[in-house]
Each structure stands twice: as structure tokens, then as C-alpha cells.
Point group: C2
Chain length 318, copies 2
């Protein structure tokens, strides 16, 4: 049986989730791909007693320059050194799978270009919508379509806050504190509540849907920190919910995009997407409207997307 | 540039939709696959002046035994002769793409076995949920999961009828007549309203999710023809909507399945799936809950799924 050796850069929450799935579901993955997928090395600077000691290394070259590693999973987060590590891995003929939306959005063209040049796969399903298989669908099953529009609820923290403000009539600041206490918001919530995370994801969606790269910093972005209970009540009067929408539209050959709170009619499928769930609503010229819904974050959902990408590589080498 | 010649058996509504997409979006398909996908022959017994005359034939062998045809699209409907034609095409080394849920459900093991034996692709994304790319997701991006449950609204006719009964407080018989007038229900609606169509689709979902074939006739099936306005009002009192659910669950290694009207709480994502829309809600051990939503029928949505399958074949031959 063919073997595929995986090195994970940064086995934290998401990388640890991928490790857990590759380990627990090893048999089913082997059965479905005909390939034995093995975790070969984990790059971490901190002691990680939950992993087998022989897998741990603090030297990136043990993965990036190791001829026995076939696939590099990058779940370190941050733009650097993640981007350099991914480029080095591809240069060395390794396939790369990442969940890192900031790095993919910042260096989309360089990273996808390196994959083409080195004839390796560069896959990043986990970078948008966590476990929701939306990027794969855009690039495969839906790819007979010209895409016209995408509207995404792609940030769980802000969707959780807006849901609680809507359901409980609570204030933004109180809900944010509660979300931080429950682990749905970070201590510094800026990237989430100001829409920066959503802009990174919209950059990736726009690149895939419209074959057009728009840097996150060029996407007009408004977060939810100025939304008040009065705004939400006024929207409810109109039969709407306020949602933070990553929105891109193709019109007359031009792509326009924004991240901003929008009033979504209660009858729209996106209005029913609550709490920390994510959804991406896409319009194609042939398929019409399709929506993908699921958990946009978390170790195992995001790990599921990473493992899906690894499986597609395994099927190809088979 | 490599070329892929497609023969379509039965260019009616769905096959005609596939033809339209392959023709109108030829450029974008070529750009995304690097392969020139051409419609080569159309098998039809009736005169079809809307298609180029040189493509038409009434002899199945012009497609099935033609060495120039690489992919056979089967959109004739019915179990036979569709199944025999698909088997013959695979025996002759042709990939097969179909939208025919009745044929796939009835002869799942024979058809998938023939594909393995003849080393060709047998793809049927269009057979469940029209344009919604759910089967591809199960087999690829989500395939690191052990699947636990599926709940599908997979029949547009019954969902349209139940939605109108719920929204307008109308009677089953009046809504059915209205649906027939609008083209959402057939003159003989039995296969839809009695759940037979949904059972075919559940058979296919169950085979892919749980690697277990359960014949449609072995799936306990109850339709919606006995649902009354009183039932719907009683469900509403409980905060629920009645939906026809194709439901399969894995418990203690056993798959149990049914097609039946179920009370779905208004807070559940499936409760918001209205009118002729379809949705499939899947639980995996790692990804948790994911839902796929879109148009479950119609020429172009279903055609989009067929073209997605053809594109995946094109990418492979590339």
C-alpha cells in the first residue's frame, strides 16, 4: 500500500484537530483512499506531552527539508514565518495544506504560483468556513458556473455576538464579555469584531469565484463594534436580522466587495444562521443559489477540512 | 489541447440543461480544466429542432459503441433501458454521468461495480439534490469523517406543497392542484407525494455515507398525502414545521432509515428550507453538522451538477 507522510507545522488547536482525525479515523481514511496516511513529524517549540515524543521536533528543516515528508500541514497562524515555510515546502516538492487565512489572503498569488511552478497541490479548504466544504465545491462540482455573487457569514465570533444581541436584546459590550468568557471571542477581539478576519476570507472567496485577487486591505471593511440594540430593534421592525456579511458581486465584468453589517430579511436562508455557525451563500449563472452551512471554527471541524484536503492528495497519488 | 467528447442519452429537461451549460460556458470550462469538452452526439427518438441536426441520432450505438465518445451522460430517466445503456457504455471504456436516481438506486451495486471493473468513472451528483454538490462533498472534502446521520429535504414537489400548506393554511388537495398548474408537480404525482422519489435518493445517500446499500423498497416510506391542515397547525403550536425527511442514522453499527413527514423545530436549519428548495443536513463525527442547500430540480441546476461531474473527469484525463 502507498504511504503518505504528513508533517504538521504548529499542532495547536487546528493542527491538533487534524492530528486527532488522522489518528482516530486512520482506518476509514485508508479504506476510502487506498493510501496509508501517517503523521510523521510535528513542529512545535513548546513541550507537548499529549503527542508521541518521537514525532516532535523544534527544527522546521526536519519537515521542510525532509525527503520522507510528502505533505506539509501549516497551522501555525500568522503571515510569517508561515508563508516562507509553505513556499520552502513547495520548492522541495511537497504538497501544502493550510488553514491560515491571513497568510493565504496576504500572499495568494505567490503561494498559488509556487504550487503551479513546483507542480504540487496547495489546498486551503480550512481557511474559509472551517469544516464547511465550500472552496472544494467552488473549484470542482460548481465549476461549470460563472459565479455572480457571494454572501458569507464567515466569522463565528461576530455571528455569536449578533445572535445574542438579537435574541436577548443584550448590549454589544456585555455580549462580547460573555463571548470572551465562553471562548467564542479572543482577549483581543479586534480582528474578529472589526471584520479583518472576514475580509481575509472574502479575499480568498473572491479569488476563487471571480479569478480576481483583491488584497484584504483594499476591501471596504466595517465591523460590528458600532452596532447598537437600537439598530437591531429597527432591523427587526423591518423583518430583518443584522448579520456581518462578506459580500462580493460581479457586475458588468467588475467585482465589487465589502465586509459590513447588513440587514438580511428573515426569509433569507442566511437569516437562520445563528450563534457560532458559518454559512456561505453563492449564486452561479447555472445552479442559481446554493448555500453551505456548518461550524466555521474549532479543532475537529477545521481539522476535518484539512484532512479532506489531505485525502484529495492521497487519492491523486494513488 | 486534450478533447473530451460527450454523448447525451435523452436530451430532455435535464440533459438539455447540461447541453446548454456545456455550450454557453464552454470557454470557462476549458479555462478551468485545460480540456476542450465537446457535445458529440445526442440520442433522441423525437425531432429536436433546438439542437444542431448533425448531433442528433436515434441509434444508441452511435454513442455507446462509438470509440470517439469519452463520456456518456444518461438523462433518459426510468430504470430501463437506462441501466443497460450505462453498463454497456462502461464496458466500452466510457465514463458515465447520470442524473437518474431511480436507476442508480435500483442498480447501485451493479453500476458502481461495473465502474470499478472497467476502470471508468461513474458519477451521479445530479441524482440527489439537483445542483447541490452534496455527493461530491461526502466522497471528498468530508471523507475524513465517520458519518452518523443524514436528514434530507430531497423532494421539491412535496416541500413546495408543505410550505404552501404551512404559509397559507391551504388544504393538501388545493395546493397539489396549484403545484400541478405551476409545473412543480407532475400530472401523476404519486412518486413525489408518496415519498418514492425521496426513498431513491435516501438509498443513494445511505450507500455513500454508510457504505451500506438498502434497496428503496426496504426503506419504510410514508408520503405527505395524509397530512392535514390540522397536523400542520398542531406542529406550529409546538414551534415546529412538518417536512418530508429522508432520514438515516448509524447507531451501534446499524443503519436505520425512513422517509416520513417529521416535525422539525423552527430553530433547526432544515425548517427554513422553503418551497421547491432542497437541503441535506449531515452529521459527521469530526465536522459536526453541515448543511447543503439549493435548487433540487430544474434544467440548469441539475445540469450544473452533471457538468461538475464531467469537469472532474476532464481534470483527471488532463
Amino acid at each position: 500500500m502507498k504511504k503518505l507522510n504528513v508533517g504538521i507545522l504548529g499542532p495547536g488547536t487546528v493542527g491538533g484537530g487534524a492530528y486527532e482525525i488522522l489518528t482516530k479515523n486512520k482506518d476509514v481514511i485508508e479504506k476510502r483512499t487506498g493510501v496509508s496516511v501517517e503523521v510523521f513529524k510535528l513542529l512545535t517549540r513548546r513541550p507537548r506531552p499529549e503527542f508521541p515524543a518521537e514525532l516532535l521536533t523544534d527544527d522546521p528543516d526536519d519537515i521542510l527539508n525532509n525527503p520522507d515528508v510528502n505533505v506539509v500541514v501549516e497551522t501555525m497562524g500568522g503571515i510569517q514565518p508561515a508563508t516562507s515555510f509553505m513556499l520552502q515546502a513547495m520548492k522541495n516538492g511537497k504538497h501544502v495544506v493550510t488553514a491560515n487565512k491571513a497568510a493565504v489572503a496576504a500572499n495568494y498569488e505567490e503561494l498559488t504560483g509556487a504550487a503551479l511552478e513546483n507542480e504540487v497541490k496547495f489546498l486551503f479548504e480550512a481557511s474559509v468556513g472551517g469544516g464547511i466544504p465550500v472552496l472544494t465545491a467552488i473549484q470542482n462540482a460548481l465549476s461549470g458556473n460563472n459565479f455572480l455573487e457571494v454572501m458569507g457569514i464567515v466569522n463565528g465570533t461576530t455571528n455569536y455576538i449578533l445572535t445574542k444581541m438579537t435574541e436577548d436584546g443584550a448590549d454589544y459590550k456585555d455580549v462580547l464579555k460573555d463571548a470572551q468568557a465562553k471562548g467564542f471571542a479572543e482577549a483581543d477581539p479586534t480582528a474578529d469584531v472589526e471584520g479583518i478576519d472576514a475580509a481575509n476570507k472574502l479575499c480568498i472567496l473572491t479569488a476563487l469565484l471571480f479569478d480576481k485577487y483583491i488584497a484584504p486591505s483594499d476591501i471596504p471593511t466595517t465591523g460590528i463594534s458600532q452596532i447598537t440594540g437600537t439598530d437591531i430593534a429597527a432591523a427587526a421592525e423591518e423583518g430583518c436580522k443584522i448579520k456581518l456579511i462578506a459580500h462580493a458581486t460581479l457586475k458588468d465584468g467588475q467585482v465589487s466587495c465589502s465586509v459590513a453589517p447588513e440587514k438580511i430579511p428573515n426569509s433569507h436562508p442566511l437569516a437562520g444562521v445563528s450563534n457560532e455557525f458559518n454559512a456561505v451563500y453563492i449564486t452561479g449563472d447555472m445552479v442559481g443559489e446554493v448555500m453551505f452551512y456548518g461550524k466555521g471554527a474549532g479543532a475537529l471541524p477545521t481539522g476535518s477540512a484539512i484532512v479532506g484536503d489531505i485525502i484529495s492528495i492521497a487519492k491523486e497519488i494513488k
